[in-house]
Symmetry: C2
Subunit: 329 residues, 2 copies
């Protein structure tokens, strides 16, 4: 890059604020939880977050430092999600508008520490996204959401536009012959945001298709774009558990098959077939027997398992959706 362009970049940066935010996830029993920062006056929670500062060596280091100072939580697994930077979502600072660059992170921790304090709470993530939990059947909110979506489709201008809207709704919310996909969390939220079905739309900008009265009020709010970052995190995590052994970052040192299954079900928001789940886990060779058995609970005691740390990466890439490459040659 030439010196001129560098100077332009620096000039441009004068109007720029970079915010690092973390979706800190744990699973307690059979519920997925995230660490939320309570606000003093506001009703809406926040994620642990703070601005990038020059003292931070790397982005991730900056994130960790903010999280630790705000929550006293030590992070293990951390992964960058996405950088949001719409000018729509700006904040007013000193006396001019600055662009907000928001870099979201996903962090996984093993247990809900710290306990809830005056500042922080562990919250079930389905409090923010009630339509994402299908473990006890189709969530009730979806009836209203679907009704609104159908009328949005009907309101389209031309036939082509209407078809496009219908297609998008079907893909996001699994209507018609399309099945619900646990991974489309962000696409669903963005659709709701775009057409004004969540309160954030009306908070951030001029009213969209939907009036403020028709807004879906189920689901807790968060400040700024934090609910969007949360949606991104859930989507990423749901996708990732399918091809990388990330669930184990959320499990205690030893656990039973049922514990593991419930953790996965909590994240995916779906129930799975018990024996098939066991068979899959066993076939992957990711866990080993500790020799001990669980005690206390009702029913036959279960074997206690442990994650095989040594195996980390050696599995043949599973579920690759291309014919296996030719071997030999």
């Amino acid at each position: 890059m030439s010196v001129r362009t560098q100077q332009q970049a620096i000039a441009a940066s004068r109007e720029l604020a970079v915010d690092l935010s973390a979706v800190i996830v744990c699973v307690t029993g059979d519920q997925p939880q995230i660490l939320a920062i309570r606000s003093e006056n506001d009703a809406a929670d926040a994620l642990a977050s703070g601005p990038l500062e020059s003292r931070h060596r790397t982005l991730e280091a900056g994130l960790r430092s903010w999280v630790e100072s705000q929550t006293h939580q030590c992070l293990g697994y951390v992964e960058q999600l996405y950088t949001f930077g719409d000018r729509n979502r700006m904040v007013v600072g000193s006396n001019r508008r600055v662009r907000m660059l928001s870099i979201g992170y996903l962090a996984l921790v093993r247990e809900a520490r710290p306990e809830n304090t005056s500042n922080t709470v562990w919250r079930n993530w389905y409090q923010y996204f009630p339509w994402e939990d299908w473990r006890s059947g189709k969530p009730a909110v979806l009836a209203r959401i679907e009704r609104q979506l159908r009328s949005w489709v009907a309101d389209a201008e031309g036939a082509g536009d209407r078809r496009a809207r219908a297609e998008r709704v079907r893909a996001c919310f699994g209507l018609g012959n399309i099945r619900w996909s646990d991974e489309r969390v962000l696409e669903r939220y963005e659709l709701l945001y775009e057409i004004g079905l969540v309160p954030e739309t009306h908070r951030d900008r001029a009213p969209a298709w939907c009036s403020a009265d028709d807004v879906i009020k189920e689901g807790a709010l968060m400040i700024a774009d934090h609910r969007r970052v949360l949606a991104t995190a859930i989507a990423r995590l749901r996708g990732k558990i399918k091809y990388r052994p990330v669930v184990f970052e959320l499990m205690p040192p030893t656990f039973t098959f049922l514990n593991l299954q419930q953790a996965v079900e909590a994240l995916a928001g779906l129930l799975m077939h018990k024996s098939n789940f066991r068979r899959l886990v066993e076939s992957q060779g990711l866990v080993e027997d500790t020799g001990e058995v669980s005690a206390g609970a009702a029913g036959r005691p279960a074997r206690l398992l442990r994650y095989r740390h040594d195996i980390l990466l050696e599995r043949p890439v599973p579920g690759a959706r291309l014919p296996q490459a030719l071997r030999g040659k």
Copy 2:
């Protein structure tokens, strides 16, 4: 976020430059290509890139505007890759050091337009990563790379450290009982960078494990962290073709099975079994027959296919690595 934190953020941003860069990919025949910007004096190419400016409505809009002004290429499919922000990789601007935030994008285009000009060239991406092309057997460079990696493993301090290094090398480069994974492009590059086996290490900072003489010189360089962004793009694309129909963004309106297979092979850097590839594509219902056949080439003419745009999202998520969720209920 409170007003105080906002002001901190703005203060911090004074030392910040945000660079948007695009890996623009097309496939010509059976080769994957990227659009590189020739440098005037320097030997190293660059990606199309430029600083984020306040006139840009969104990050993606900023990227598109830079790409169009630098290359006169219109972008179709665009996807954000990752935001890099190590303080190691800084640039000197005016008279103080600023942090470089680099947001990488992947863009797919159908044909190599514009033709090469004085400023831009389409280059085979394996020019930058010769060890990533296994289509005609194991690349020759890997012999030297593996030798160096083995001695890096041997140089580890304790036995634990040595095992960790060995494990990492095995996972990245598919040694021992682990197979080569086409998707680990970035992990491989990062490992080479970290231990000083690519020239960038020595350009960016104090010498690492490896002396400048032992550096792997095969593979063209790029400025700044652009080769890292390219590695990220290749990795993402190789992963994505396995579960989303993105290849079609790179295909002309009509194509044969062989064209499609060669495109996929070009991206993956691996050969596939012909009949199985056809069966897979057919079973997905992603293409339809145009009725026409290809002409001119030697051999029996092939049917011309076209991508079914209408089907975009309706496929049942394939290859999900969890037991299918219970139906009904």
